[in-house]
């Protein structure tokens, strides 16, 4: 039964690009349109956690949609949700700019909009009740701190050289993490030099190729910062294949299961622990708080702590 549901969900998600689900018997109806469920484990786990959280709460009924990464479809879904007169809309923007007109339309129809995971562009802020998600700039600066602390422990904080592999160019999360890292690193470790920065497009294989080129180009690399662990593990694989992983500090963000395992192996140093379950639950809670008329900060961040080889026992292995 569960399997059938899962398969059916994946089918609709992938082929038609939208899945609809309604559950619970509540006083509030909340619609959510997600970015691209199924494209990676984070988004898949997010959706499952969101549905589970909604089912556990009797006062809410949810309409779960997925835009399949297509901004036009997301705008159409927003309009559908407005037509259905839901009480609130949660949107995981496929594109921070293009979704703004649809958000404004919901705002004009007096439906509060909560943005989840990745924020929309600033000119749309006035139409949004609250943003619920990780603080990517802080994540970037925390990664810089992890890197710097490690260099200090190794006694190389005055000569270390770092390369930086970013996420998809143009993607808000990628830009903000890179900005947080690039701003913070010179503050905590002024003598560490960042010698190169290239995009790995959130893709492990691409990131492996970028790292292979870095290894050829530079004889001396002490640290690698990647915009997420998926790319970080790609870079790690490249260094392992070239027998140069030892002596390189690998730091990522969004701790994936592969990153967690590599930390347990002692080859990968640290990351930022970001749970899709926390992300989904925070989004639902923010929406409910807004509907109940409670005071909600505009930027409602959930905490994403540092995780390194030293404190990883305190965290369970990510499921994605």
């Amino acid at each position: 039964m569960k399997m059938t549901y899962k398969v059916a969900l994946a089918c609709t998600t992938a082929l038609i690009g939208s899945s609809a689900y309604a559950g619970g018997h509540g006083t509030f109806t909340i619609g959510i349109t997600q970015n691209n469920v199924g494209v990676d484990s984070y988004q898949t786990t997010y959706e499952q956690a969101f549905i589970a959280a909604a089912e556990a709460n009797d006062s809410v009924e949810v309409v779960v949609l997925d835009a399949g990464g297509d901004v036009a479809r997301q705008i159409a879904q927003m309009e559908d949700l407005i037509q259905q007169e839901v009480d609130a809309i949660i949107v995981w923007p496929t594109n921070g700019e293009a979704v703004i007109p649809a958000v404004r339309k919901a705002h004009q129809a007096d439906i509060p909009v909560i943005v989840t995971n990745s924020n929309i562009a600033e000119q749309g802020f006035e139409f949004v009740s609250s943003f619920s998600g990780p603080d990517n700039v802080t994540q970037g600066s925390r990664s810089a701190e992890i890197m710097c602390d490690r260099f200090k422990a190794l006694g190389i904080e005055n000569e270390a050289k770092v390369v930086h592999i970013t996420g998809q160019p143009g993607y808000t999360t990628a830009i903000e993490r890179a900005q947080g890292f690039n701003d913070r690193l010179p503050e905590v470790c002024p003598n560490v030099e960042q010698i190169d920065q290239q995009p790995g497009d959130w893709n492990r294989e691409k990131s492996q190729q970028v790292m292979e080129a870095f290894l050829v180009k530079y004889d001396d690399i002490d640290g690698v910062y990647s915009g997420d662990d998926n790319m970080g593990v790609g870079a790690l694989n490249a260094a392992l294949a070239a027998n140069r992983a030892e002596g390189i500090t690998f730091v990522g963000a969004t701790n994936f299961a592969v990153g967690y395992e590599a930390m347990a192996d002692g080859t990968y140093w640290g990351s930022i622990y970001q749970s899709p379950v926390d992300d989904a639950e925070a989004a639902l809670k923010t929406a409910l708080d807004v509907l109940k008329g409670e005071e909600v900060p505009f930027l409602n961040y959930f905490d994403t702590p540092k995780i390194t080889q030293e404190n990883m026992d305190e965290f369970t292995k990510p499921v994605f």
């Binding site: 082929l15 990676d40 893709n203 292979e212 080129a213 180009k217």
Partner: protein, 324 residues
Amino acid sequence: MAELTKKSIGGFLAKQGILVAFLVFMVVFAIANPRFIDIDNISGVIRSSAILGVMALGVTFVVIGGNLDLSVGSMMSFSTIVVLDLHDKIGPALAIPGMFAMTLCLGAFIGFLVGYLKLNSLIVTLGMLSAIHGLTLTYSGGQNMDIADKQNTWFDFFGQGSMLGIPVPILIFALLAAGLSLVLSKTPFGRKVYAVGGNGTAATFSGIPRARVVFMTYILSSFCVATAGLIQASRSLGSQNTVGQGLELEVLAAVILGGASLLGGSGTVFKTVIGVLILGFIQNGLLLMGLAFYAQYVVTWVIIILAVWLDIAAKRGRLWSPIA
């Protein structure tokens, strides 16, 4: 005498224009950064290109046969995810043939639609691009697929191993290229592929079973895709669902860059290999030059168009088209 030399040089250029373009780029990159021709770098680039290359070999047959295959990218994701999943469930020795069988079924299905039902290959494979992506997501439930025990498996041989000092992906690519080159140029089947792509009607009247030939090119293409998926899975022992996304266009670019005609009937395996290497070395060369990534996107395509132009110019013996 001088004339003869000039003629023979001209003849060589006309036949191997793309090879000359390739060598020119190599020299320019090597001057810009001597590390470019470091043996480790060269072997690294060929190793990374092997995945794209193996896929391009199969697509070469499809394109020469007068059709397109846009489904190879998502089919490669499928193979990669399936073999990784089966690895932990039934062991690598059974997972590999199992994955090949499943991928060949997809190839046979496309071959049936395009060959026997004579449907337009662009529409069929474009549709299959999405359908197979959906199939992959359904299969994996959207989760990343990773081999649980990465230390104790011989499965990493195909992507990370080496024999006689040569990385295995390069060996697979080279052997497959050599084998398929023979098939295309020396066997009756190879000639039938050219005939069907060159003039399908004439081929039919000559008694060539057109549907079967087209069917076989798709089987061959899916076999190559399965091999590429095997290398990919073995290289990282884990994968995202979208690992092959967008590769279909790179593969097609490499095949066309190599000089195969989109209309069918011309192209060789050797030239496709050169096309693949040009793409791989351009990307690596630009990275080593330290160009900002947005400049890389532009420069890559400028170079590709330049290469195609050089190739065509060499063939017609002048830079501009004689027809206004």
